[in-house]
Structures are given as C-alpha cells and as structure tokens.
Amino acid sequence: MPFVPHTDQDIQKMLDTIGVDSIDQLFDEIPAHLRAKPLSGVPEGLSEMDMMRRMSERAQLDAGAQCFIGAGAYEHHVPAAVWDVATRGEFMTAYTPYQAEASQGTLQLIYEYQSMMCELTGLDVSNASLYDGASGLAEAVLMAIRANRKSKSKKVLVAASLHPLYRKAVESIVSNQGISMEFVGFNTDELSVDQAALDAFAGQDFAALVIPQPNFFGTIEDVNALSDWAHGNNMLVIAVVNPTSLALLAPPGEWGEHGADIAVGEGQPLGLPLASGGPYFGFICCTNKLVRQMPGRIIGRTLDLDGKDGYTLTLQAREQHIRRSKATSNICTNQGLAVTAATIYLTMLGYEGLSRVARASYQNAKILRHKLASLKGVNIKHELATFHEFVICLDQDADAVLSAMAEQDVLGGLSLKQDFPDLGNSILVCTTETKNESDLDNYVRVLGEAIARVGGSAC
C-alpha cells in the first residue's frame, strides 16, 4: 500500500485495542446507503518507476521551444542553489508557523522577505505574500475600499493598460461585494495612459487609481504625474509593479509628491520557474497608515522570555481565524515555498545582481526591437520607453504567424487580437537576460520566415 506503513500485525493490534472487528466498522456512523462503491473511474496505481516514465514522456511534449512570451510570467535564470535550498524538507514540508518556537526558520525567512520587499517598493510594510499578482491586486482593491474613508463610491479607477487577465481576475473577486472598476483608456500610439481620458475623471469619487508600471505593453508610464493626479482627487494609489524592474525604476513609495499607498505585483520573476503559471506569489506592500487593512499573514520581530530576538505571526486579529466574518480577507495561506525561493534569489543576486538582470533584459529588448525594425511586414510604430517587453504590429494575421513560428519551436509572443482588437495584428514580445545574440537573430529569422509562409495581408 503506497505510503501506508501498517503491517497485518499492526492492524490487528489496533483493531483489538479499539474494540472493533474490522476497519469498516469504524465507519458505522455513516448511513449505509451513503457508503461509496469502489472508485471504478480511477485507474490502478503505478509504481514510481512507471509513473516517472509516463511523466517524462509528457514533460517532453512541452519542452524544447524558445520562449519570447512574457505577459506577466518571465523566464529568468534561477541560480541552482535557490531551489536546492528551498526544497529542503524542513522548508518544504513544514506548515504555517503556528508554533513559533518550532518555526523560527520559516518565520525569520519571511521577516527577511518582508524587509527586502519594503526595500524594493520603498514602502513600510509587506505581508508574507498572497496567491499571485492578479488576486493580489484584488486584495489591494478591497483594502483601498476599506481604507479610503473619504470615498463612498465602492469604485476604483483602473488604467486600461493593465494586464487583461488581472482585470478579469479582479472583477471576479471584487464584484461580489458590489465593488466595480472603471477604466481610463490608453493612447494606442503611445501605449500608455491617455491624459485626456484621465482628466475626464477628475473630481469624481473613486477609492483608488490602479497604475501598472511597466504597463501590460511593457511601456513605462509617467507614474509621478499619475500618482499626484490621483492624490489630488482624493484617491489612494495602487501600484502594480514588476519586481525585477524595481532595480531600475523608481520604487512606488517615491512616486510623485507622496508616493503610492499600496504596491502589489507578481513575484514570479524573483527565482520562480514559468511552470505553467504557478505556484507563483503575489507581493503586497503598503504604508504604515494602512497596515491594519493588510490581508494575510504578517511576521513581526519580538523578544522571547530570555530577551532573545525571535519572530512570530503578528496582528492576527485581522485574520479569519479570529475575526471570522469580519476578517480583512478569507485568505489563510501565503505562498510560503515560493517566497522561500524568492528570498534566497534576492539574497544571492543582491541589488547589484538584480539590477544587472534588469538592465540585460532591457537591453535585449532594445536590441531585438532594432533588429525587427528592418524586417518587412513588421511595424514598430515608434521608439517608446519600454522595460523588457514591447508591441509589434504585423501586416499578416498575428495568430497565423505565431502558429507558424511555434512550428519552428519559437514561441514568438502573445497575440493581442482578442483582448485589444483596436491594436490590429499586434504581438507582445518579451526578452530577458536569458536570451543571447544568436537567440535574438534566430527570432528575427523565424519571424521573417513565418511572415513569408503565411503570406497575403490581413491589415
């Protein structure tokens, strides 16, 4: 029996002690007509050897392509030691640190993580993490609605240059509480917030303005102006940021006159593999003023009976196990193991390493953009300030071109046709430090061939 250690002798001894004849008798309080039949729809078990063969074959089906898709999940080099250490059994198979004295490893690590995230975002407080960037943004929106006492509207204003999947996730999570979003359009040439569209909302009642930086298209927004505009209109500022970019870009805590109030984002770039979308982790940081509205776990430093430093869960009265229906959120878990990896990643790279990763990613995107500018059938409208992603517009059907590229094992980017039909046959392309000059040349070659193969004209 896989993973069940009982010998026949053990079973007999246990049944005798309990005073029953069979294991089945232990279920005699369950009404007989409810007792399940054998699980005929589940296949027979496999040995580990047979299972590994099956899984290796399947993993192989998904392997081998070069990935130029970003859109919220980014391929970065992960130092070998990160997951070697993070998957030590003592980290991987521990649970939420309820018994602080027996969980100082996890607790101190999260305190260090919180400290690093505060440094990166320029804010005072970080929690121990949320599920992912998108659901993290939903929590930030709920937090802003609770915190902004000047606003009565239960509405937030969102830059339409936000990731469309974030937009969808936030909507499904907050709409049940009667909270709604309105969107500030973006300029389709500049691919950043449209000032006139923004001005149309001046003076209206919103709890917060959500500003992505860089935005979904990779474009750098003028966050100082946006942040000041929001504060001038009694809105809190929620920054949605890429943590790698924060090695280069101004931290949310320093945006404009007052800084953002809440910063949230996807932690995946900090040492987590792409892995089909998870587990990742959402980070969320805020000013001291908002700490009691923060959802999820927070670790604090304190002293033990002997006056020695120690770490413990704190401000638990905000949480569901105490406040029940009045909790700031129903969230219990954080993404502990993902945060463990991210903390080790940030430690190994340090600020110097992280900023080299950010600059290399930025430079590669710039180089690729230059190379593509001369390719026939590819339109790059202008030289926008972008981080490590940018939009190209094709003369042919974007989906057909991407399929043709995939046949050559190059995943050429994300088609924007469905989410942004106004942008025509556009593709969002991403590079990170993992790409070298020959990868970039290969991309240009494969894209050129795909365009030639698809032929015709769709625009």
Binding site: R292, Q316, A317, R318, I322, R323
Partner: protein, 132 residues
C-alpha cells in the same frame, strides 16, 4: 472580582457610559471585566471625530493578541472627542479602563437612551450569567 463602578451605565456587551457634568457629553469605554476577558490590548480602532453614531451601532474595535471585539455605542450622538492616547498606549485599556483608558466622547442626542442602559447591579448579573 471585577470592578464595576456604581455610578456608570452599561451594555451587556461590556461597554460603559458616563454622563459628564455638562449633562450632554457621554464618555464611553469598556469595562474592567471586558479588558480582563480580552487580555493585553494591542490596538483600538476609534470612530472619527464628527461621525454620527446610533445607539447599539458598531463604533470601533478593540484588539488583543488573540481576539478582537466590536465596540458598540451605548448611546447615539455625534462623536466630539476620541482618546488619542490609546494609539500610542493601548495598554491603558487594561490598566485604567474607567479613567485614562476611555475610548470616545459623544454629544448625546437623546438623554432618554441613558436610562435604558444597565445599571451596575444589572451588569454584574449579566456578567455572571455569561460565566454560567
């Protein structure tokens, strides 16, 4: 045993109310018994000055390490002052629940409401009933 001053009025949810000498200001806090149940208070959330609250309405929250309780307004009116000391020193709720540990002051809108509150004796009975 618990300290229940005879001159105050009470809610069974453990808030006390004191009519001040001006005849229209009521000071509100939580009882000695309440702070004892909660344990070390670590945070108090108070209403905003100027807010209008109705009797029986939630007017704040008091938190200890392991628990959090809503504070209900014993009487209705406009909040005219809050105890800002509590932000820095929430432990006053434990050490001086009836003095420096007060929560907020209300300008009462209906003096009749005070009469409907429990007196010390009735509150003591209520506490006992709760303990079984």
């Amino acid at each position: 045993m618990s300290n229940i001053p005879g001159e105050l009025k009470y809610l069974s949810s453990h808030e006390w109310a004191r009519l001040e000498e001006d005849g229209e200001t009521v000071t509100v806090g939580i009882t000695h018994h309440a702070q004892d149940l909660l344990g070390d208070v670590v945070f108090v959330e108070l209403p905003e000055v100027g807010a209008e609250i109705a009797a029986g309405e939630e007017a704040g929250v008091v938190e200890s390490v392991k628990a959090a309780s809503d504070i209900f307004a014993p009487v209705g009116g406009v909040v005219i002052e809050i105890n800002e000391e509590l932000e820095e020193s929430p432990e006053l709720v434990n050490s001086e629940p009836y003095d420096d540990g007060w929560f907020f002051k209300v300008k009462i809108s209906d003096a009749e409401e005070l009469a409907s509150l429990l007196d010390a004796e009735a509150y003591a009975e209520a506490c006992e009933a709760e303990d079984h």
